[in-house]
């Protein structure tokens, strides 16, 4: 019965895999071993694995300096049986031993979600999304109609590369995190996902500004906008974490939702901490767009005056309440 030896790193990821048909396998740093190890704490001839008459594999330490272990902190004094799948250490070098009859896990089907998310890493898509973001940013600059004389255009345009770099920081951080944890970096899919999320948020703002104007800044629109923002942000973060983190799915979703809520709450929280003088200022919706973007029926003067009368009753009722 053949033996399979997996050489592991400190995180117990497989870095080499060997299969031997013979009855004895020697392990150590010397070049005449069957498995040549790198770890500096491993002796040139550290240990051997051999098969007894019953066909079972045994590990025997060859009087090494730092010892061999089947259990941590219990150096082997004599040859010991190694069941298939057993983890053992030569010094600090972890190994896993299998026989060739050992059961392996069934094949995993392709994950369609992961494949979809990976497809965001295609260059044409990334470039299109980047162009969309730049276009939106240019539109914003253009909307403020900077004077050509003052060089505002040039200044604003020079800021665009900085903006792109700033946007790329998040996918870079995610890719680095994956790499550090011995997973695929997946930088391009993360970059594509981030750009897609930002584009979606920008388009959502644009759509909502028209809706808000047409509905005269109704309270529900603000609510809808905030909810949409949180949901889009949570979706983006969930996709990012799905690719970058190795947690259970529900943990990734919880982390993404929590982070999105935290970021949005911070946005809202600013309004809570402003000083009293701000509360005395009238707060109203000032949104103005060309009349052709107003998709609603304007109210009649009499209706407006009736609503004004109602406002008087409303504030009169507030008179006695504590400030």
């Amino acid at each position: 019965m053949a033996v399979i030896i997996e050489v592991l790193n400190k995180q117990h990821k497989v870095i080499e895999r060997h299969k031997f048909a013979q009855h004895e396998v020697r392990l150590g740093r010397a070049y005449d071993n069957d498995v040549i190890l790198y770890d500096r704490h491993v002796c040139p001839h550290h240990a051997k694995l051999w098969q007894n008459e019953q066909g079972q594999w045994q590990l025997q330490d060859l009087a090494s300096l730092n010892g061999s272990f089947l259990e941590p902190a219990q150096p082997l004094q004599q040859a010991a049986l190694v069941p298939s799948g057993q983890l053992c250490w030569l010094g600090e070098q972890p190994l896993r031993i299998y026989d060739d009859q050992h059961q392996v896990a069934p094949a995993l089907p392709f994950n369609p979600l992961e494949q979809k998310l990976q497809s965001f890493g295609h260059w044409p898509l990334i470039i299109s999304l980047l162009l969309l973001i730049l276009l939106e940013e240019l539109f914003r600059i253009w909307l403020n109609a900077p004077g050509q004389e003052s060089g505002q255009w040039t200044r604003n345009l020079l800021n665009l590369p900085l903006l792109v770099l700033a946007l790329a920081l998040w996918p870079t951080a995610l890719a680095l995190w994956s790499k550090l944890n011995q997973h695929e970096a997946r930088f391009l899919p993360q970059l594509g996902l981030t750009f897609a999320g930002i584009s979606a948020l920008a388009l959502w703002q644009l759509l909502l500004s028209i809706v808000n104007f047409s509905l005269d800044g109704a309270a529900g629109v603000v609510w809808l906008q905030e909810t949409g923002n949180v949901m889009l942000l949570a979706l983006l973060l969930a996709a990012n974490f799905y690719l970058a983190l190795q947690f259970a799915l529900w943990k990734k979703l919880a982390l993404a939702t929590g982070l999105a809520l935290l970021l949005s709450l911070q946005n809202l929280g600013v309004g809570v901490f402003v000083d009293d003088s701000e509360q005395l200022m009238p707060r109203f919706d000032a949104s103005l767009l060309p009349g052709s973007l107003y998709f609603n029926q304007p109210v009649a003067v009499d209706d407006f005056n009736r609503d004004s009368t109602a406002l008087f009753e409303q504030v009169a009722a507030q008179r006695q309440q504590q400030p």
């Binding site: 005395l280 009238p282 707060r283 109203f284 103005l288 407006f304 004004s308 406002l311």
Partner: protein, 418 residues
């Protein structure tokens, strides 16, 4: 002979000067004991929070000063008390008996008994006559300031005497007397160098008569409330009945100086090449305010019109800048959160009588201590043109619901797009 003539001329001039100087000196010497420094003391610290001047009337135990000198003690009797300091350094308690916030007057009870007291001049002075303002500027001691009577202030809803003489802070509440020593007005405000304002003595006579008839009110707040309601009723009756004169304003017409006490100014950036958004603005206001407390004033009216046009701007660009122009509107009177409720606003696109659409904002807040009084704010931005718009805006302070709504109706109908 000739030298004798010149000598006589010089002598006569000197004589005349001496006579005038003598009369001012005598006046001051005679009436100084009837002037008191009025001090508002904070109960907690015992220190003086503010000071002003007061003068003792010939009517027994009565002292006159400005309402704004004693306002904190009237509105917050549990936090402040009043005290006088006389020329002989004697001190004593004061007690407010009646107030007139519209004319900024207060009648105060005192036990101080000076040898000389002030009488009120019933006759109106002649323009150009010399008057003497008495008071204690900046706590430096009682002084006398000569100046000229220049009639009633034109264009003011609240009658005020224009006195050409230095009325400084701390002289508030002091009397201004004619050469005979009778009170013509009460020092109330200054508009800088040699430009002082006095409340006419008639207002004091009226307050005195009312006090003698009705006595001390049970509750100053309801007395003040009544005065504010009356005053705004008179002001708005005049405004709403007036035939509003309109003036050309860009592509439209807007109200001009609708009543004599509303004055208008204008400005524009049309000459400046750099800005692609051209702005023409006109402001109209009744800017005299009624003082209620150190952080609460009322009684103002303000109207503002802006014509914005950007012929070189895309409609989206124009409306973006247009929005920035209307997204902040402030009340033009001072008030704290103990004085007023927060604003409640409505904001809708309104189809006006002429068929034009305008984004219209109306906000209102109520006075907490005075029932039936409100601050109102209105703002309308026309929507039907691609690269130009007119913003019409008004703020009213200390106004009743009916007057605010009637003004709003008349105002929105008056702004026209041609």
């Amino acid at each position: 002979m000739r030298s004798l003539w010149y000598g006589c001329l010089a002598w006569c001039a000197l004589l005349a000067l001496t006579v005038q100087a003598d009369s001012a000196e005598q006046l001051f010497a005679r009436y100084e004991p009837a002037l008191l420094q009025v001090r508002v003391l904070e109960n907690a610290s015992g220190a003086k929070a503010s000071i002003g001047t007061g003068f003792v009337l010939e009517q027994p135990n009565l002292l006159v000063t400005n309402y704004h000198v004693v306002s904190e003690a009237v509105l917050f009797p549990e936090k402040y008390q009043l005290e006088y300091l006389a020329q002989d350094q004697s001190k004593g308690q004061l007690q407010v008996l009646a107030v007139d916030v519209i004319n900024d007057l207060a009648l105060v009870k005192t036990d101080y008994q000076p040898a000389q007291r002030f009488a009120i001049q019933a006759e109106k002075p002649v323009q150009g006559v010399t008057l003497y303002s008495l008071g204690n500027p900046h706590d430096l001691g009682m002084i006398l300031v000569p100046g000229t009577y220049n009639g009633l202030q034109k264009y003011s809803f609240y009658p005020r005497i224009h006195f050409t003489g230095a009325v400084n802070s701390g002289m508030s509440g002091g009397p201004t007397v004619d050469a005979s020593g009778k009170v013509v007005g009460i020092n109330v405000a200054s508009a800088g160098n040699q430009l002082g304002f006095l409340v006419p003595a008639q207002a004091l006579s009226a307050l005195l008569a009312r006090y003698q008839q009705q006595g001390q009110p049970k509750d100053f707040k309801s007395q003040i409330e009544g005065q504010l309601l009356d005053s705004q009723q008179k002001m708005f009756a005049q405004i709403l009945q007036a035939d509003w004169q309109l003036k050309e304003f860009g592509p439209g017409k807007v109200p001009d100086e609708i009543v004599p006490f509303v004055r208008c100014w204008g400005e524009s950036n049309v000459e400046k090449r750099q800005d692609q958004l051209k702005k023409v603005a006109a402001f109209c206001s009744q800017s005299e305010e009624i003082f209620l407390s150190q952080r609460f004033s009322t009684g103002r009216i303000e109207m503002q019109f802006e014509w914005l046009h950007g012929p070189e701007l895309h409609p989206l660009q124009f409306f973006h800048r247009y929005q920035q122009n209307i997204d902040r509107a402030n009340p033009d009177n001072q008030a704290g959160k103990e004085d007023v409720t927060p604003f409640e606003c409505q904001h809708q696109v309104v189809q006006q009588h002429n068929g034009q659409r305008a984004k219209t904002i109306f906000c209102v807040r109520a006075y907490r201590q005075f029932n039936g009084l409100y601050d109102a704010l209105y703002l309308a931005a026309s929507l039907d043109h691609q690269q130009q718009g007119i913003v019409s805006h008004f703020t009213l302070s200390g106004v009743s619901q009916d007057n605010a709504l009637a003004f709003s109706r008349k105002f929105s109908e008056a702004v026209l797009w041609q």
